[in-house]
């Protein structure tokens, strides 16, 4: 039941949002992103989460790996995709319902990108809820969200710089200029300064919130941003089966639009990416293209899976890893090519046994999956393969990895860094 204080707080937030929406134009933070070739600073590479870097490796074999058990605390939990900045690779072990946050210490590890030596590991007793992000202000600060609603900022030496108690289970933060955007497990979007100051928070809309309370958990995904504002998505649990709500805000927290996507096959918001003309959203196993100014739907592509990963986008195509890896035309969502994932259906005919799922980085005409790459133009394999011996080794059970990729790569100009469900953190160069 909602307390009187919570109702008042909700009303106050709505009022503040209304004022921001009709008053003077909202502040637009300065957010120049200089497209580094030596870093992958946030989960989606840039604030738009295009996953499109200017350069990536042209070949590679395993250069080093850090096993899950070699750290203290060990790198258990669901390993986040790596982020890379200033010659360091950061990886978090997230709490899940297998690694319950009430008795699991989530690790955040810093690894030297050149040598693979472990620099430090910090443990977070209440569990981590999303991938790390390197703040966009040049400080090298690493920010990560806790299951307990605390946003943690850690210096490049592992020391705590600040914390912000935002409430709810926090997901993956996204760095936009000198601020951070992060969505809580209650569907509330927070804007936080690089110093940990709270700028604003926007509650998820809908009358049901007043009935179930604003902190009832929902599924969320990392927000993305461009100079028009910030975009978020969440699943309203209470009603509208197979529906995900996508929201467009301005940078002051005023809501610009709201769209409900029906999401055939799966109803989780699995990732957003925005370009000048289109906001792409993966909902369950379906990719949608929306107008970033109005939220109006342009096209949808149903993969047939119940789950697909976050989209990436270059000048020509949208790439998404579901069971298979797909390249879709940006204008109409027509499949251009696919990399068939030969993983067999499991006994219950669930085709997501070992799907790709990972956000597929794209750089220089190459799309990276697992330990290799394919041509962005036609999907032909350039190097690496699903049959790589080391990739297949390990005792796989689909269940714990359901909706999580086996291997999640990111790239810099000369290397791939990936987390692997069994092999820990790996550099391929």
């Amino acid at each position: 039941m909602l307390s009187r204080r919570e109702v008042l707080a909700a009303g106050g937030a709505a009022l503040a949002g209304g004022l921001a929406g009709c008053g003077s134009s909202p502040p637009t933070p300065d957010a120049t992103f200089d497209a580094p070739t030596t870093a992958w600073p946030t989960a989606g590479y840039d604030p738009q989460a295009t996953g499109h870097a200017p350069a990536g490796p042209t070949e590679g074999t395993v250069s080093w790996s850090v096993s899950r058990s070699s750290a203290d605390p060990p790198l258990y939990g669901a390993l986040s995709p790596p982020v890379v900045a200033d010659g360091t690779v950061y990886v978090a072990g997230l709490a899940t319902h297998y690694y319950r946050p009430d008795d699991f210490v989530s690790p955040l590890a810093a690894i030297d990108a050149a040598s693979g030596s472990l620099q430090w590991v910090e443990g977070f007793a209440d569990g981590l809820g999303g991938s790390p992000a390197v703040a966009g202000d040049g400080s090298g600060t690493v920010v990560i969200g806790g299951y307990d609603g605390t946003l943690h900022a850690v210096g490049s030496d592992g020391s705590s710089e600040w914390t912000a108690d935002l409430g709810g289970r926090l997901g993956t933060p996204m760095a936009y200029g000198d601020r951070l955007y992060v969505e809580s497990g209650s569907g509330r979007l927070h804007a936080v300064g690089s110093d940990g100051s709270r700028l604003w928070a926007a509650d998820r809309p809908g009358p049901t919130e007043l009935l179930v309370g604003p902190d009832e958990p929902v599924e969320t995904t990392m927000p993305v941003a461009d100079d028009r504002g910030v975009y978020a998505a969440f699943t309203p649990f209470e009603r509208e089966r197979e529906a995900v709500v996508v929201l467009g805000y301005d940078h002051g927290g005023g809501r610009r639009w709201r769209t409900v996507l029906d999401g055939r096959y799966g109803r989780s918001p699995n990732g957003l990416a925005v370009t000048d003309d289109v906001l792409y959203a993966t909902v369950g196993g379906t990719v949608y293209a929306l107008d970033p100014d109005t939220g109006e739907q342009r096209w949808q592509f149903v993969t047939g899976s119940a789950v697909a990963g976050p989209p990436t986008v270059d000048d020509e195509r949208v790439y998404v890893g579901g069971k298979n890896l797909y390249a879709l035309s940006r204008s109409e969502g027509v499949e251009q090519w696919r990399v068939v994932n030969e993983a067999p259906p499991s006994y219950d005919r669930d085709p997501t046994a070992l799907p790709y799922l990972a956000r597929p980085p794209v750089a220089d005409g190459r799309v990276y999956i697992r330990t290799g790459a394919v041509s962005a133009a036609d999907g032909t394999r350039l190097w690496g393969g699903d049959a790589d011996e080391w990739l297949r080794s390990g005792n796989y059970f689909a269940e714990p990895y359901y909706r999580r990729p086996v291997a999640s790569p990111v790239v810099t100009g000369d290397a791939m860094y990936l987390t692997h469900a069994h092999h820990g953190v790996v550099k391929v160069a």
């Binding site: 055939r264 739907q297 149903v302 047939g304 696919r338 259906p345």
Partner: protein, 407 residues
Amino acid sequence: MTDTGKRPTRRRLLASLGSAAVIGAAGCLGTRSEHNPTSGECPKYDPVEPATTDWRGVMGPATNTGAVAAEAIPKGDLGIDWTVPVETYVGHHVPVVADDTVYVHDMDDELSAVDAETGERVWTRPLADPEPAPAVGGGTLVVVTNAETHAFDAATGDRRWKREDLDGGIFGASPIVAGDTVYVQSGVATHALARSTGETRWRAATGFPSDSTPAVDGDTVYTAGDDTYVRALDTADGTERWRAKTSARIACNVSIVEGTVLVGTAAGNVLGFDAESGEERWRYRLEPRKTRDESRPRRPETIATDGSRVYVATDDRLVTLALADGTRCWDNRNYAGGYASGIAVGAGKVFVPTHDDGGGAMTVLDAPTGSTQQELIGDKRQRFDIGPSVAGGGVYFAGRSAVVRLS
């Protein structure tokens, strides 16, 4: 354009009420779905006479039309010729019939051949866990089990070959024998096997399983599945001639007749495609199943066609559309859908399993109008849940530990 449900606006609601009134006046059965605002009348019934008199696969010919020649359809009211016990604790699948022999398995441990005239067993052999309906062609009987794909000499039951890497399921696609090739949907690919040896001629992988039995017409095999696409593949090498995207998984069989490829999707749509180009000709959205809070698609389970009408079975009804443009012609709300319920059509008659107050029945419908010509109630010895298959002047059903022939 998506085919997902939209809440009716006031204007659409009024429009649908208006069309319902028109239909009521015209005397059609049921109510027209608000999602199909076509005003056309059902065109003249003008079926194409098929050549086939056997029932070689789960839906008869390799084109999966469920249609047989008029000479293979028994005349007058049907009565039981014979009943053959096929003891099983698991169930049956659709019997197939070729060269006056009926082939049936017990989904457990046995495969049998029965003389179509006398009901006597020609041969019986052990076979572990056969699942979908068999297929027969060129003297070869193909059976997919939950672990393997087997080929037997249809005359003797002797094994010809076995593939230990190609399995199937009770709700999955049945194999198709067309010419000297066997088509099997298994794993995440369509497999074309040499009928004589079982060797793979080609395989086309989508990455997804398929429960949709493919259709073969001439040098093209039409496939569909969880992948959501309909594909036309060259039978020689599996090269894709065209593909058409739909918005949902396809578990229903593919049918091909008169240059039109028919599929039904889990979104509740029946679609007709040009067989040459893959261009969508029409689509019909089955009336969704509405409950208090929500609307769920009514899923097409089986499609048959006689070249004039398209017969679409869901779990609770048979919907008949015009092949030419997808206009709805008539419904039957007594259809008894199950894991192996089917449709057979020929000589202007439609044979289906139906519900009855006392249990299951076999019903013969008039194809032009949908009116019931005969209803035969099942009894303690025989039910009509599995099938029908129609061949050589007999109608075959399975159920309640027996196979029955009617004529």
